[in-house]
């Protein structure tokens, strides 16, 4: 049971990285960015194909994955700001393009990482002192560092300009900031994080698959919204903490659905239904409902 909770926490953190990215685009920039379903796989594709075919150091591929994701986000940003394509559509177009691009990068629909070195396995097998919690400890550290860096960035001048852009693009122009540049920057950062998450998830799971990104926007938004419902602060540090908490809770809900769904008569095919039910129950816990009804500014 403890082992299972460790795995839930690991997944919560791995996908929490993507949730942080979606937090930037959805909450900070008010941009519903569907690119993430594609950029998540791009990160995985880069990380896996470079390790398997190119023998590149798996840690280096993580950096490259981030950059690839940033590139994808930039494309979406440019489609929107320079070509005037609506935000949702720009994201969708990028996502569709990335499907073909990702297949090209991988060369096949699935790449197996079973027989190569990966960062996650290197960590979990390389620190015998911490046993089965090794990866969790390192991941917690890594994700916390990422979160803190993000918090710090969002309090810098550029970061504040980013937040202001999402709030009121016209006022921002009056202040002498180019909202178009900010949007591109925000989307690049966002998708970079999502791609990094994809790369880590691929190494963690032992394979990269062309379909692994489907639903990234959904689970990311779930994490962001759950987090927002539980931690109702407008301060950046708390908001990002909420996102990570939301990601952990969502993964916990999935685990509960998979493990205990049968006990209440559910079948294997009902996993998604049960997951949503668990999330609804978690949000309806007394006190949260009335806080929700007061209506937070979402976007």
């Amino acid at each position: 049971m403890v082992l299972l909770l460790i795995h839930v926490a690991e997944q919560g953190l791995l996908y929490g990285m993507a949730a942080l990215g979606i937090f930037i685009s959805y909450r900070i920039l008010c941009f519903p960015d569907l690119t993430v379903d594609g950029s998540f796989v791009t990160g995985a594709a880069i990380a896996s194909s470079l390790v398997v075919s190119g023998g590149v150091n798996p840690a280096v591929t993580l950096v490259l994955a981030f950059l690839a994701g940033a590139l994808a986000g930039t494309v979406t940003g440019l489609l929107h700001t320079r070509l005037g394509i609506a935000d949702l559509l720009a994201g969708v177009l990028s996502m569709i393009m990335l499907y073909s691009i990702n297949l090209r990068i991988m060369g096949r629909p699935s790449i197996s990482l079973l027989r190569v070195e990966t960062v996650t396995r290197g960590i979990s097998e390389g620190i015998p002192l911490l046993g089965s919690a090794a990866l969790l400890v390192v991941l917690t550290g890594a994700v916390l560092v990422t979160k803190l860096l993000l918090d710090f960035f969002l309090r810098t001048e550029v970061g504040l300009a980013l937040r202001a852009t999402g709030d009121n693009p016209r006022m921002v122009t009056a202040q002498g900031i180019d909202p178009r540049r900010m949007k591109v920057l925000g989307l690049a950062l966002s998708n970079g994080l999502v791609a990094l998450s994809g790369a880590l998830v691929a190494q963690y799971s032992g394979f990269a698959d062309i379909g692994m990104g489907v639903g990234t926007i959904v689970t990311g938004l779930a994490a962001v919204i759950i987090g927002g419902a539980l931690i109702r602060s407008r301060r950046v540090g708390w908001m990002t903490a909420g996102v990570l908490l939301g990601s952990l809770l969502y993964r916990l809900a999935v685990m509960i659905a998979l493990r205990f769904g049968y006990a209440i008569g559910f079948q294997a095919s009902d996993v998604k239904l049960v997951t949503s039910l668990v999330v609804i129950i978690a949000l309806v816990v007394p006190g949260i409902r009335e806080r929700l009804s007061k209506g937070a500014k979402t976007c």
Partner: protein
């Protein structure tokens, strides 16, 4: 005195049997809901029952389905490990990969099923020599693409269109194989790509006028939308061969291969061997043989095709007059 000894012996025997009869926990997991994969699962359970392993008596099944979601696949595998499952049956490439990663270097045997190319997906090191495959073995559904293409050639095809989903590992491997062997048979291949069932009709239609035969492999996506391809094939009056025998009644001119329920039964055979004491690294990957040809005479009439007698002689069943007729052996 003798009687007490006998009773003690009997009790001892019963206890020994009881201890050794703790039900074996078998985890069966599949990557997605799909009739073919569901059939494999059912085949495994039914055949194990025939082999003496009945649910609730000496075997306990834990069934899980990743619903096409990779993160679920990882959690399912981790769940199995946490529950102390004694043997895992993983159906579908995505599921097998997730299970292989979680059970890396473990003692628990893993049996994969419905994987077309386990070697290139690194599930096993070698298909023929299992000694370094660790705790993994399984059954491959690799179809004999060359044989299927030869059938199409036999009925006069020159340009063969293949409708497939490049996102499916099995289809990717088979299409690449087809492109490799086709020139040797004097055939050329035209590809039509459908990344989801919704795009299958368009993909099939894109072949109109460009091919004189259509070939679909064990592609889950396209087989799910087979009616669309059948419609196009009949419109264009070209023969359509699908590598899934259970699809014959939906209208393809020819169905060749083995069905997935049988595939499941063969998988159960491997599982039974392991339950009886063999280790996975003693069992080479099983490649299913014994593919059969099934002909649809109704469709053939619609497209003006007459099957050569040699093909009819080989057929295991014929679809005629709206009904499938098994050949009496």
């Amino acid at each position: 005195m003798k009687r007490i000894g006998l009773v003690v012996a009997l009790v001892g025997l019963m206890l020994a049997v009881a201890a050794g009869a703790a039900p074996v926990k078998i985890g069966i997991c599949q990557i997605v809901e799909h009739p073919a994969l569901d059939a494999v699962r059912q085949g495994v359970i039914d055949a194990l029952k025939d082999a003496g392993y009945s649910e609730g008596v000496n075997v306990e099944y834990v069934i899980a389905n990743a619903q096409g979601d990779m993160s679920n696949a990882a959690i399912i595998a981790q769940n199995f490990r946490a529950q102390g499952v004694n043997l895992v049956v993983a159906i579908g490439t995505g599921m097998a990969l997730a299970v292989a990663e979680v059970y890396r270097g473990a003692e628990t045997p893993v049996v994969f099923s419905a994987i077309t190319d386990p070697v290139s997906y690194a599930l096993v090191k070698s298909a023929t020599d299992p000694s370094e495959n660790g705790n993994i073995t399984g059954v491959s559904d690799l179809i004999d693409v060359a044989a299927d293409l030869a059938i199409l050639k036999e009925i006069g095809a020159k340009r063969v269109g293949i409708v497939y989903n490049p996102g499916e590992p099995n289809s990717d491997v088979l299409t690449k194989t087809a492109k490799q062997v086709a020139p040797g048979l004097g055939l050329s291949i035209v590809e039509a790509v459908a990344d989801s069932t919704a795009n299958v009709p368009l993909a099939a239609q894109s072949l109109l006028g460009r091919v004189d035969a259509i070939f679909v492999t064990t592609d889950n996506t396209v087989v799910s939308a087979i009616d669309a391809v059948v419609a196009v094939a009949i419109d264009a009056k070209v023969p359509f061969l699908v590598a899934d025998p259970t699809s014959l009644k939906f209208g393809p001119a020819i169905a060749a291969g083995f069905d997935y329920y049988e595939h499941g039964k063969i998988t159960a055979g491997v599982v039974a061997r392991i339950l009886r004491g063999e280790r996975p690294n003693q069992i080479p990957v099983t490649y299913v043989t014994g593919s059969q040809v099934h002909l649809n005479l109704d469709t053939a009439a619609k497209i003006g095709l007459t099957f050569p007698q040699s093909l009819v002689d080989k057929a295991a069943s014929i679809y005629y007059g709206g009904h499938e007729w098994e050949k009496v052996q």
